[in-house]
Symmetry: C2
Subunit: 392 residues, 2 copies
């Protein structure tokens, strides 16, 4: 098992804080937006005398609310199609266990959410990456490019839409073509849609709204980002394929049930969260502008404007982003501040790709984001002077 | 993946309830004792604005409280030795992933907690059972008997102490001998101690209190039973072996963190739960007496008095306990009541063993337990008359 690349710099950040410096965390997708207050109120109103086991599939009341929520995306799912999981993490793991045998292959565009690699290692399946490029804002490769990678062991194509770590959004047309490909080759199409609510320029298309995908489509979802409730550990696995549901149920029964209190929180999120989501989206859209204009004013940075989620992959004018990120935490101080970024190499399966890139999560408010960008600008200048081209 | 045997009779129970009959559930370890009121109070007092990701290892404050709690058992563990997991289920899975490669072997006395089998299938490891017998109240086999099963692929011996489903308790001397065996053969000794607080006749020995086990011992724990908080999904993996901790950390980081609200509940359990545990134990001890005397008054039943936990394996005068359990749910009605039991066959890895046995969980109050036993007595009589020896 490899160590989570996002978390491997944490000891350096801890040291920086111990030394009294403030660290702006642009490295992790932990929003600073409050959890819906009505959801916190629901927790404070819990009346149960016993926190007992619930159904392995999740609370029926929550599953019904999630099904209703999906109407918004023209996705015709029922409560039966939805299993509550312990975060999207568990939904991904259940999906791999249910669709693949040991040694089977899943095609995934890279860069991808780094933990996909750990889930693949845990379930002993093989990731087949298809590289996307910063010059194309990490747009989706053609169906033909995917098709070339299909082997007799391929079981699924897996997409993250909107994309973590890229902030890209796939169109209805693109999704339909990949679904057609999956149908032709009898593959599953797994789409991780946990950032679906944050699309700034064009509308989001859920793969669940695309007709004819019933037997092939598995959607991963979560309340972590949409409702800023990462610690509740509530996610979903959604599919109309009954065989997959029956297999997933066995894994679900094995861990007995998802966390009860998180489910109570989630129910209130869906009941009261409509305006909340709109407000959060407006806030992230503002931050996106701050980030984009800030990055554009820094010399040597290659950036595109992400269309969705709250991530951006950025190419820095340094040969090794990991070394630069470490240096920022160990040796840099700008008015008592520094910034933590996620080196993007860990999001690529292929080696030696993205070595100069970092992922920036725009999850801080405008003021902090601006200060963090200033740190990055000053840091890059100092790094060039002191490390890359030190005075002789 | 096999279907959880405890849960496979549930559709029959649902049907019975739909038909208006009351079902006494003696089949599942869901206590009817309230969660500590102070813990529920802690949930209602949650002040956080954001339910955010916590440390993958669990909250430091909770880990410190658990370490302190273990002093009670002369187990010298520190907060660093304790990882918070999403229920004991996750702790078991992490243990198997961290100690075994695909195809490695773990020796486990049977009957054992049925989900061990699912965890073994998930991690592609092989369970090597060592059969224990109702005539000996499922006492622990000799170290020599374990030793005969050790092969070059054996990685661990796994015990459940106190035992689910047997209600047996292993002595300090027995544990020491198995630990010595593990040390001689360089094996891990995994002990699932989630029922440790419920020992009625003799004191409990935690394997963590046995000297010299530092590199070999891994303990599984949970608040589910001790604090009647099954739905909180909070468990622990405890070990002083740093290599194992480092490997487990990678799996822990992969699923980001354990549920936050469950951890808040757990903290209050340890802060305020000392008297609570004593009272729960007195209650279960009373129920044990009711169960034992009730079973002894039923013709043809073979029962022993369990010494710990809240389970009892009982041999019924029927050739196939699964058929009998189904019949009780489908065709039996005693004053509007029936009873659900867990057929014990699912707790044995070996086939055709324990076919006449059931597991009874004494998790109902005395009054309900007495009514359930009456159902069992009347049910067995009717079953003999109507099914086994029907009038010709």
């Amino acid at each position: 098992m490899t160590l989570s690349p996002i978390r491997s710099l944490l000891p350096f950040a801890r040291k920086a804080k111990k030394e009294g410096r403030n660290v702006f965390h642009l490295n992790i997708g932990q929003p600073d937006i409050p959890t819906p207050p009505q959801a916190m109120e629901a927790i404070r109103a819990v009346k149960d005398r016993i926190i007992s086991y619930g159904p392995s599939e999740g609370l029926p009341s929550l599953r019904a609310l999630v099904a209703q929520y999906f109407n918004k995306f023209d996705a015709h799912v029922t409560a039966d199609d939805i299993y509550v999981t312990t975060g999207a993490s568990e939904a991904i793991l259940f999906t791999l266990f249910a669709t693949c045998d040991v040694g089977d292959e899943v095609i995934i565009p890279e860069p991808f959410y780094a933990n996909y690699l750990g889930f693949a290692e845990t379930s002993s399946i093989k990731i087949v990456p298809i590289t996307t490029h910063i010059e194309e804002a990490f747009g989706l490769p053609s169906p033909e490019a995917f098709e070339q990678l299909i082997t007799p062991r391929t079981r699924a194509i897996m997409l993250c839409n909107p994309g973590n770590p890229t902030g890209q959004l796939y169109s209805a047309d693109q999704l339909k073509k990949i679904l057609d490909l999956c149908k032709r080759h009898n593959l599953f199409m797994v789409v991780d849609e946990v950032y679906r609510e944050f699309c700034y320029d064009t509308n989001f298309t859920s793969i669940l709204s695309v007709e004819g995908g019933e037997d092939h489509v598995i959607v991963i979802d979560s309340i972590s980002k949409v409702f800023s409730s990462c610690g509740a550990r509530i996610g979903y696995l959604i599919t109309k394929n009954e065989d997959i549901r029956n297999t997933v149920l066995k894994y679900a029964q094995l861990r007995l049930c998802p966390p009860y209190l998180g489910q109570v929180l989630a129910e209130a999120c869906y009941r009261y969260g409509h305006d909340y989501i709109e407000e959060a989206k407006i806030e992230y859209a503002k931050r996106r502008e701050v980030l984009y204009s800030g990055l554009n004013s820094i010399d040597g940075i290659k950036a595109y404007k992400p269309t969705a989620a709250f991530y951006n992959i950025v190419e820095l004018p340094v040969p090794n982003a990991t070394e630069f990120c470490k240096w920022m935490l160990s040796d840099f101080n700008h008015n008592g501040n520094t910034v933590m970024l996620a080196p993007a190499g860990g999001f690529y399966f292929s080696e030696h790709v993205g070595a100069s890139q970092v992922r920036i999560a725009y999850i801080l408010n405008e003021n902090h984001l601006q200060q963090a960008l200033e740190c990055l600008q000053v840091g890059l200048k100092q790094y060039h002077k002191m490390v890359l081209q030190p005075a002789t």
